[in-house]
């Protein structure tokens, strides 16, 4: 009778006891989660691509937006900081995979040590992203928004058409207007915080300084923003309705509104993944210290959380490419 055969060589998959894909339940579920989460991120990144293709001739240039590096004030350092962040995250991926490897050898102390390094790396990354956000929200130069929703930025024609910040040419008149907060007037009316300069102060300063020009959002065939002539500049500035400093979800000084929205949304969603990864890593780290997995006899939990952590690193590789490089 064939049903009595039980030697390992003729074992039949239909006899049961096998694992689908020859992988444990937990790891397979983690892979399922990763696939669905990857689709979520690809949805975000592709819609970013959609917005960008729709505004292909006026999209902000990432090199001109992300130019900050800690302790280097006023120095133009495009992308160096994000590159550093990328290295930090890749390195924390390496310590994670070393922890997984130590887990295979049931080396509790090594697992704990590498998990700790991974947590530190992840925390440094989240901190860097917060710093990046702070710079993005604060802004550097300031700009005007016209009636038609275009952002115009100021350049100095005497200084080889370099960008010039509002605070370097606008003189503020004594303030006669305060921010309208609900605690000061009608309780149901308030407004967002006022920019440093009013629209009149900026346009007065612009009209009285003949060296100043504005650049539009449009990009020429060399990939540079088009700088308008003095006459066109004056016309654009007289159409301005807002002084824009930094970025929020409604408008930003870098250009297209969708640029800041996608920046906040995609890097924010990724940062949230890193943050939850750090929290989960910390819980697993505590379990390692307490000897939970030593008692259990294997460190598969470390492997599963490792899969998630590498996935977060993987997503960053794509965010880095599509937001900062391309």
């Amino acid at each position: 009778m064939s049903s009595t055969i039980s030697s390992a060589e003729v074992q039949n998959d239909w006899d049961g006891g096998g694992k689908p894909f020859k992988v444990s339940y937990g790891k397979l579920m983690m892979w399922f989660f990763i696939v669905s989460d990857a689709l979520t991120f690809s949805g975000f990144l592709v819609s970013y691509g959609f917005a960008r293709f729709k505004h292909i001739d006026s999209w902000p240039i990432a090199d001109e937006v992300f130019t900050h590096f800690p302790f280097l004030h006023g120095i133009d350092a495009p992308m160096y900081y994000v590159a550093l962040m990328t290295f930090i995250l890749i390195f924390s991926s390496v310590t994670m995979v070393l922890a997984v490897d130590a887990g295979h050898n049931n080396n509790k102390n090594k697992v704990a040590f590498y998990m700790l390094l991974t947590i530190v790396g992840g925390a440094v990354f989240v901190g860097s992203q917060a710093w990046e956000w702070a710079n993005f929200i604060r802004g550097e130069y300031g700009a005007l928004e016209t009636k038609g929703g275009q952002i115009v930025q100021f350049v100095d024609s005497e200084n080889s058409n370099k960008r010039i910040a509002l605070k370097d040419f606008v003189v503020a008149n004594p303030k006669f207007r305060e921010q309208h907060q609900s605690s000061k007037g009608l309780w149901y009316r308030d407004e967002s915080s006022l920019p440093t300069f009013t629209i009149d102060e900026v346009s007065q300063a612009f009209f009285s300084n003949p060296n100043l020009l504005v650049r539009s959002e449009k990009i020429n065939e060399k990939g540079k923003k088009i700088i308008l002539s003095r006459e066109e500049s004056i016309e654009k500035v007289s159409q301005a309705v807002y002084v824009v400093e930094g970025a929020n979800l409604i408008r930003n000084e870098y250009g297209n509104r969708l640029f800041a929205d996608f920046f906040f949304f995609i890097t924010g969603f990724h940062g949230f993944h890193v943050f939850s990864g750090v929290v989960i890593n910390f819980i697993i780290f505590l379990n390692v210290i307490l000897g939970t997995y030593e008692k259990r006899g294997h460190y598969e939990m470390v492997e599963k959380v490792g899969l998630y952590w590498h996935f977060v690193d993987l997503v960053w590789v794509f965010v880095f490419t599509f937001f900062y490089l391309v």
């Binding site: 729709k54 495009p78 890749i90 070393l98 295979h104 038609g148 509104r257 590789v317 490419t321 391309v326």
Partner: protein, 127 residues
């Protein structure tokens, strides 16, 4: 899973490692080189790579390909996909590549079409 169950070759056997730990450091070095190349290209922006190829700049094609190479090594060596069965590899990778390529194709073509419509002059400025 024992410690010897890892496949220790990368680049189709061109580079062989003695242990899993050694392979991890080797992959880190490779990923770092790729990232450095990307950042250097992004900062220098060589004039010759600014030419358009298949409606995208050459430099962007290079970034895209290098990114996919990095993704491959993170998945295959850090996530140990190299050691998994072929059926699991295929279920994850083919599903994702198919859906992502489809989504990217359909939305990017659509975005380009909307750009063309606006460019032809129906709207003076879209924001």
């Amino acid at each position: 899973m024992g410690q010897n169950s890892h496949k220790l070759e990368i680049f189709r056997g061109l580079v062989k490692f003695k242990s899993n730990v050694q392979k991890i450091w080797g992959v880190l070095i490779f990923l770092s080189i790729v990232t450095i190349v990307e950042v250097a290209l992004g900062i220098i922006k060589p004039e010759i790579l600014m030419n358009t190829f298949l409606s995208m700049k050459l430099i962007n094609w290079i970034f895209l390909i290098l990114t996919i190479i990095k993704a491959y090594y993170i998945t295959w060596d850090f996530m140990h996909m190299r050691d998994e069965s072929f059926s699991l590899q295929a279920s994850v990778v083919i599903t994702l590549i198919f859906l992502m390529a489809y989504l990217a194709f359909i939305l990017l073509v659509e975005g380009n079409y909307i750009y063309d419509v606006f460019f032809e002059g129906f709207v003076s400025w879209d924001f």
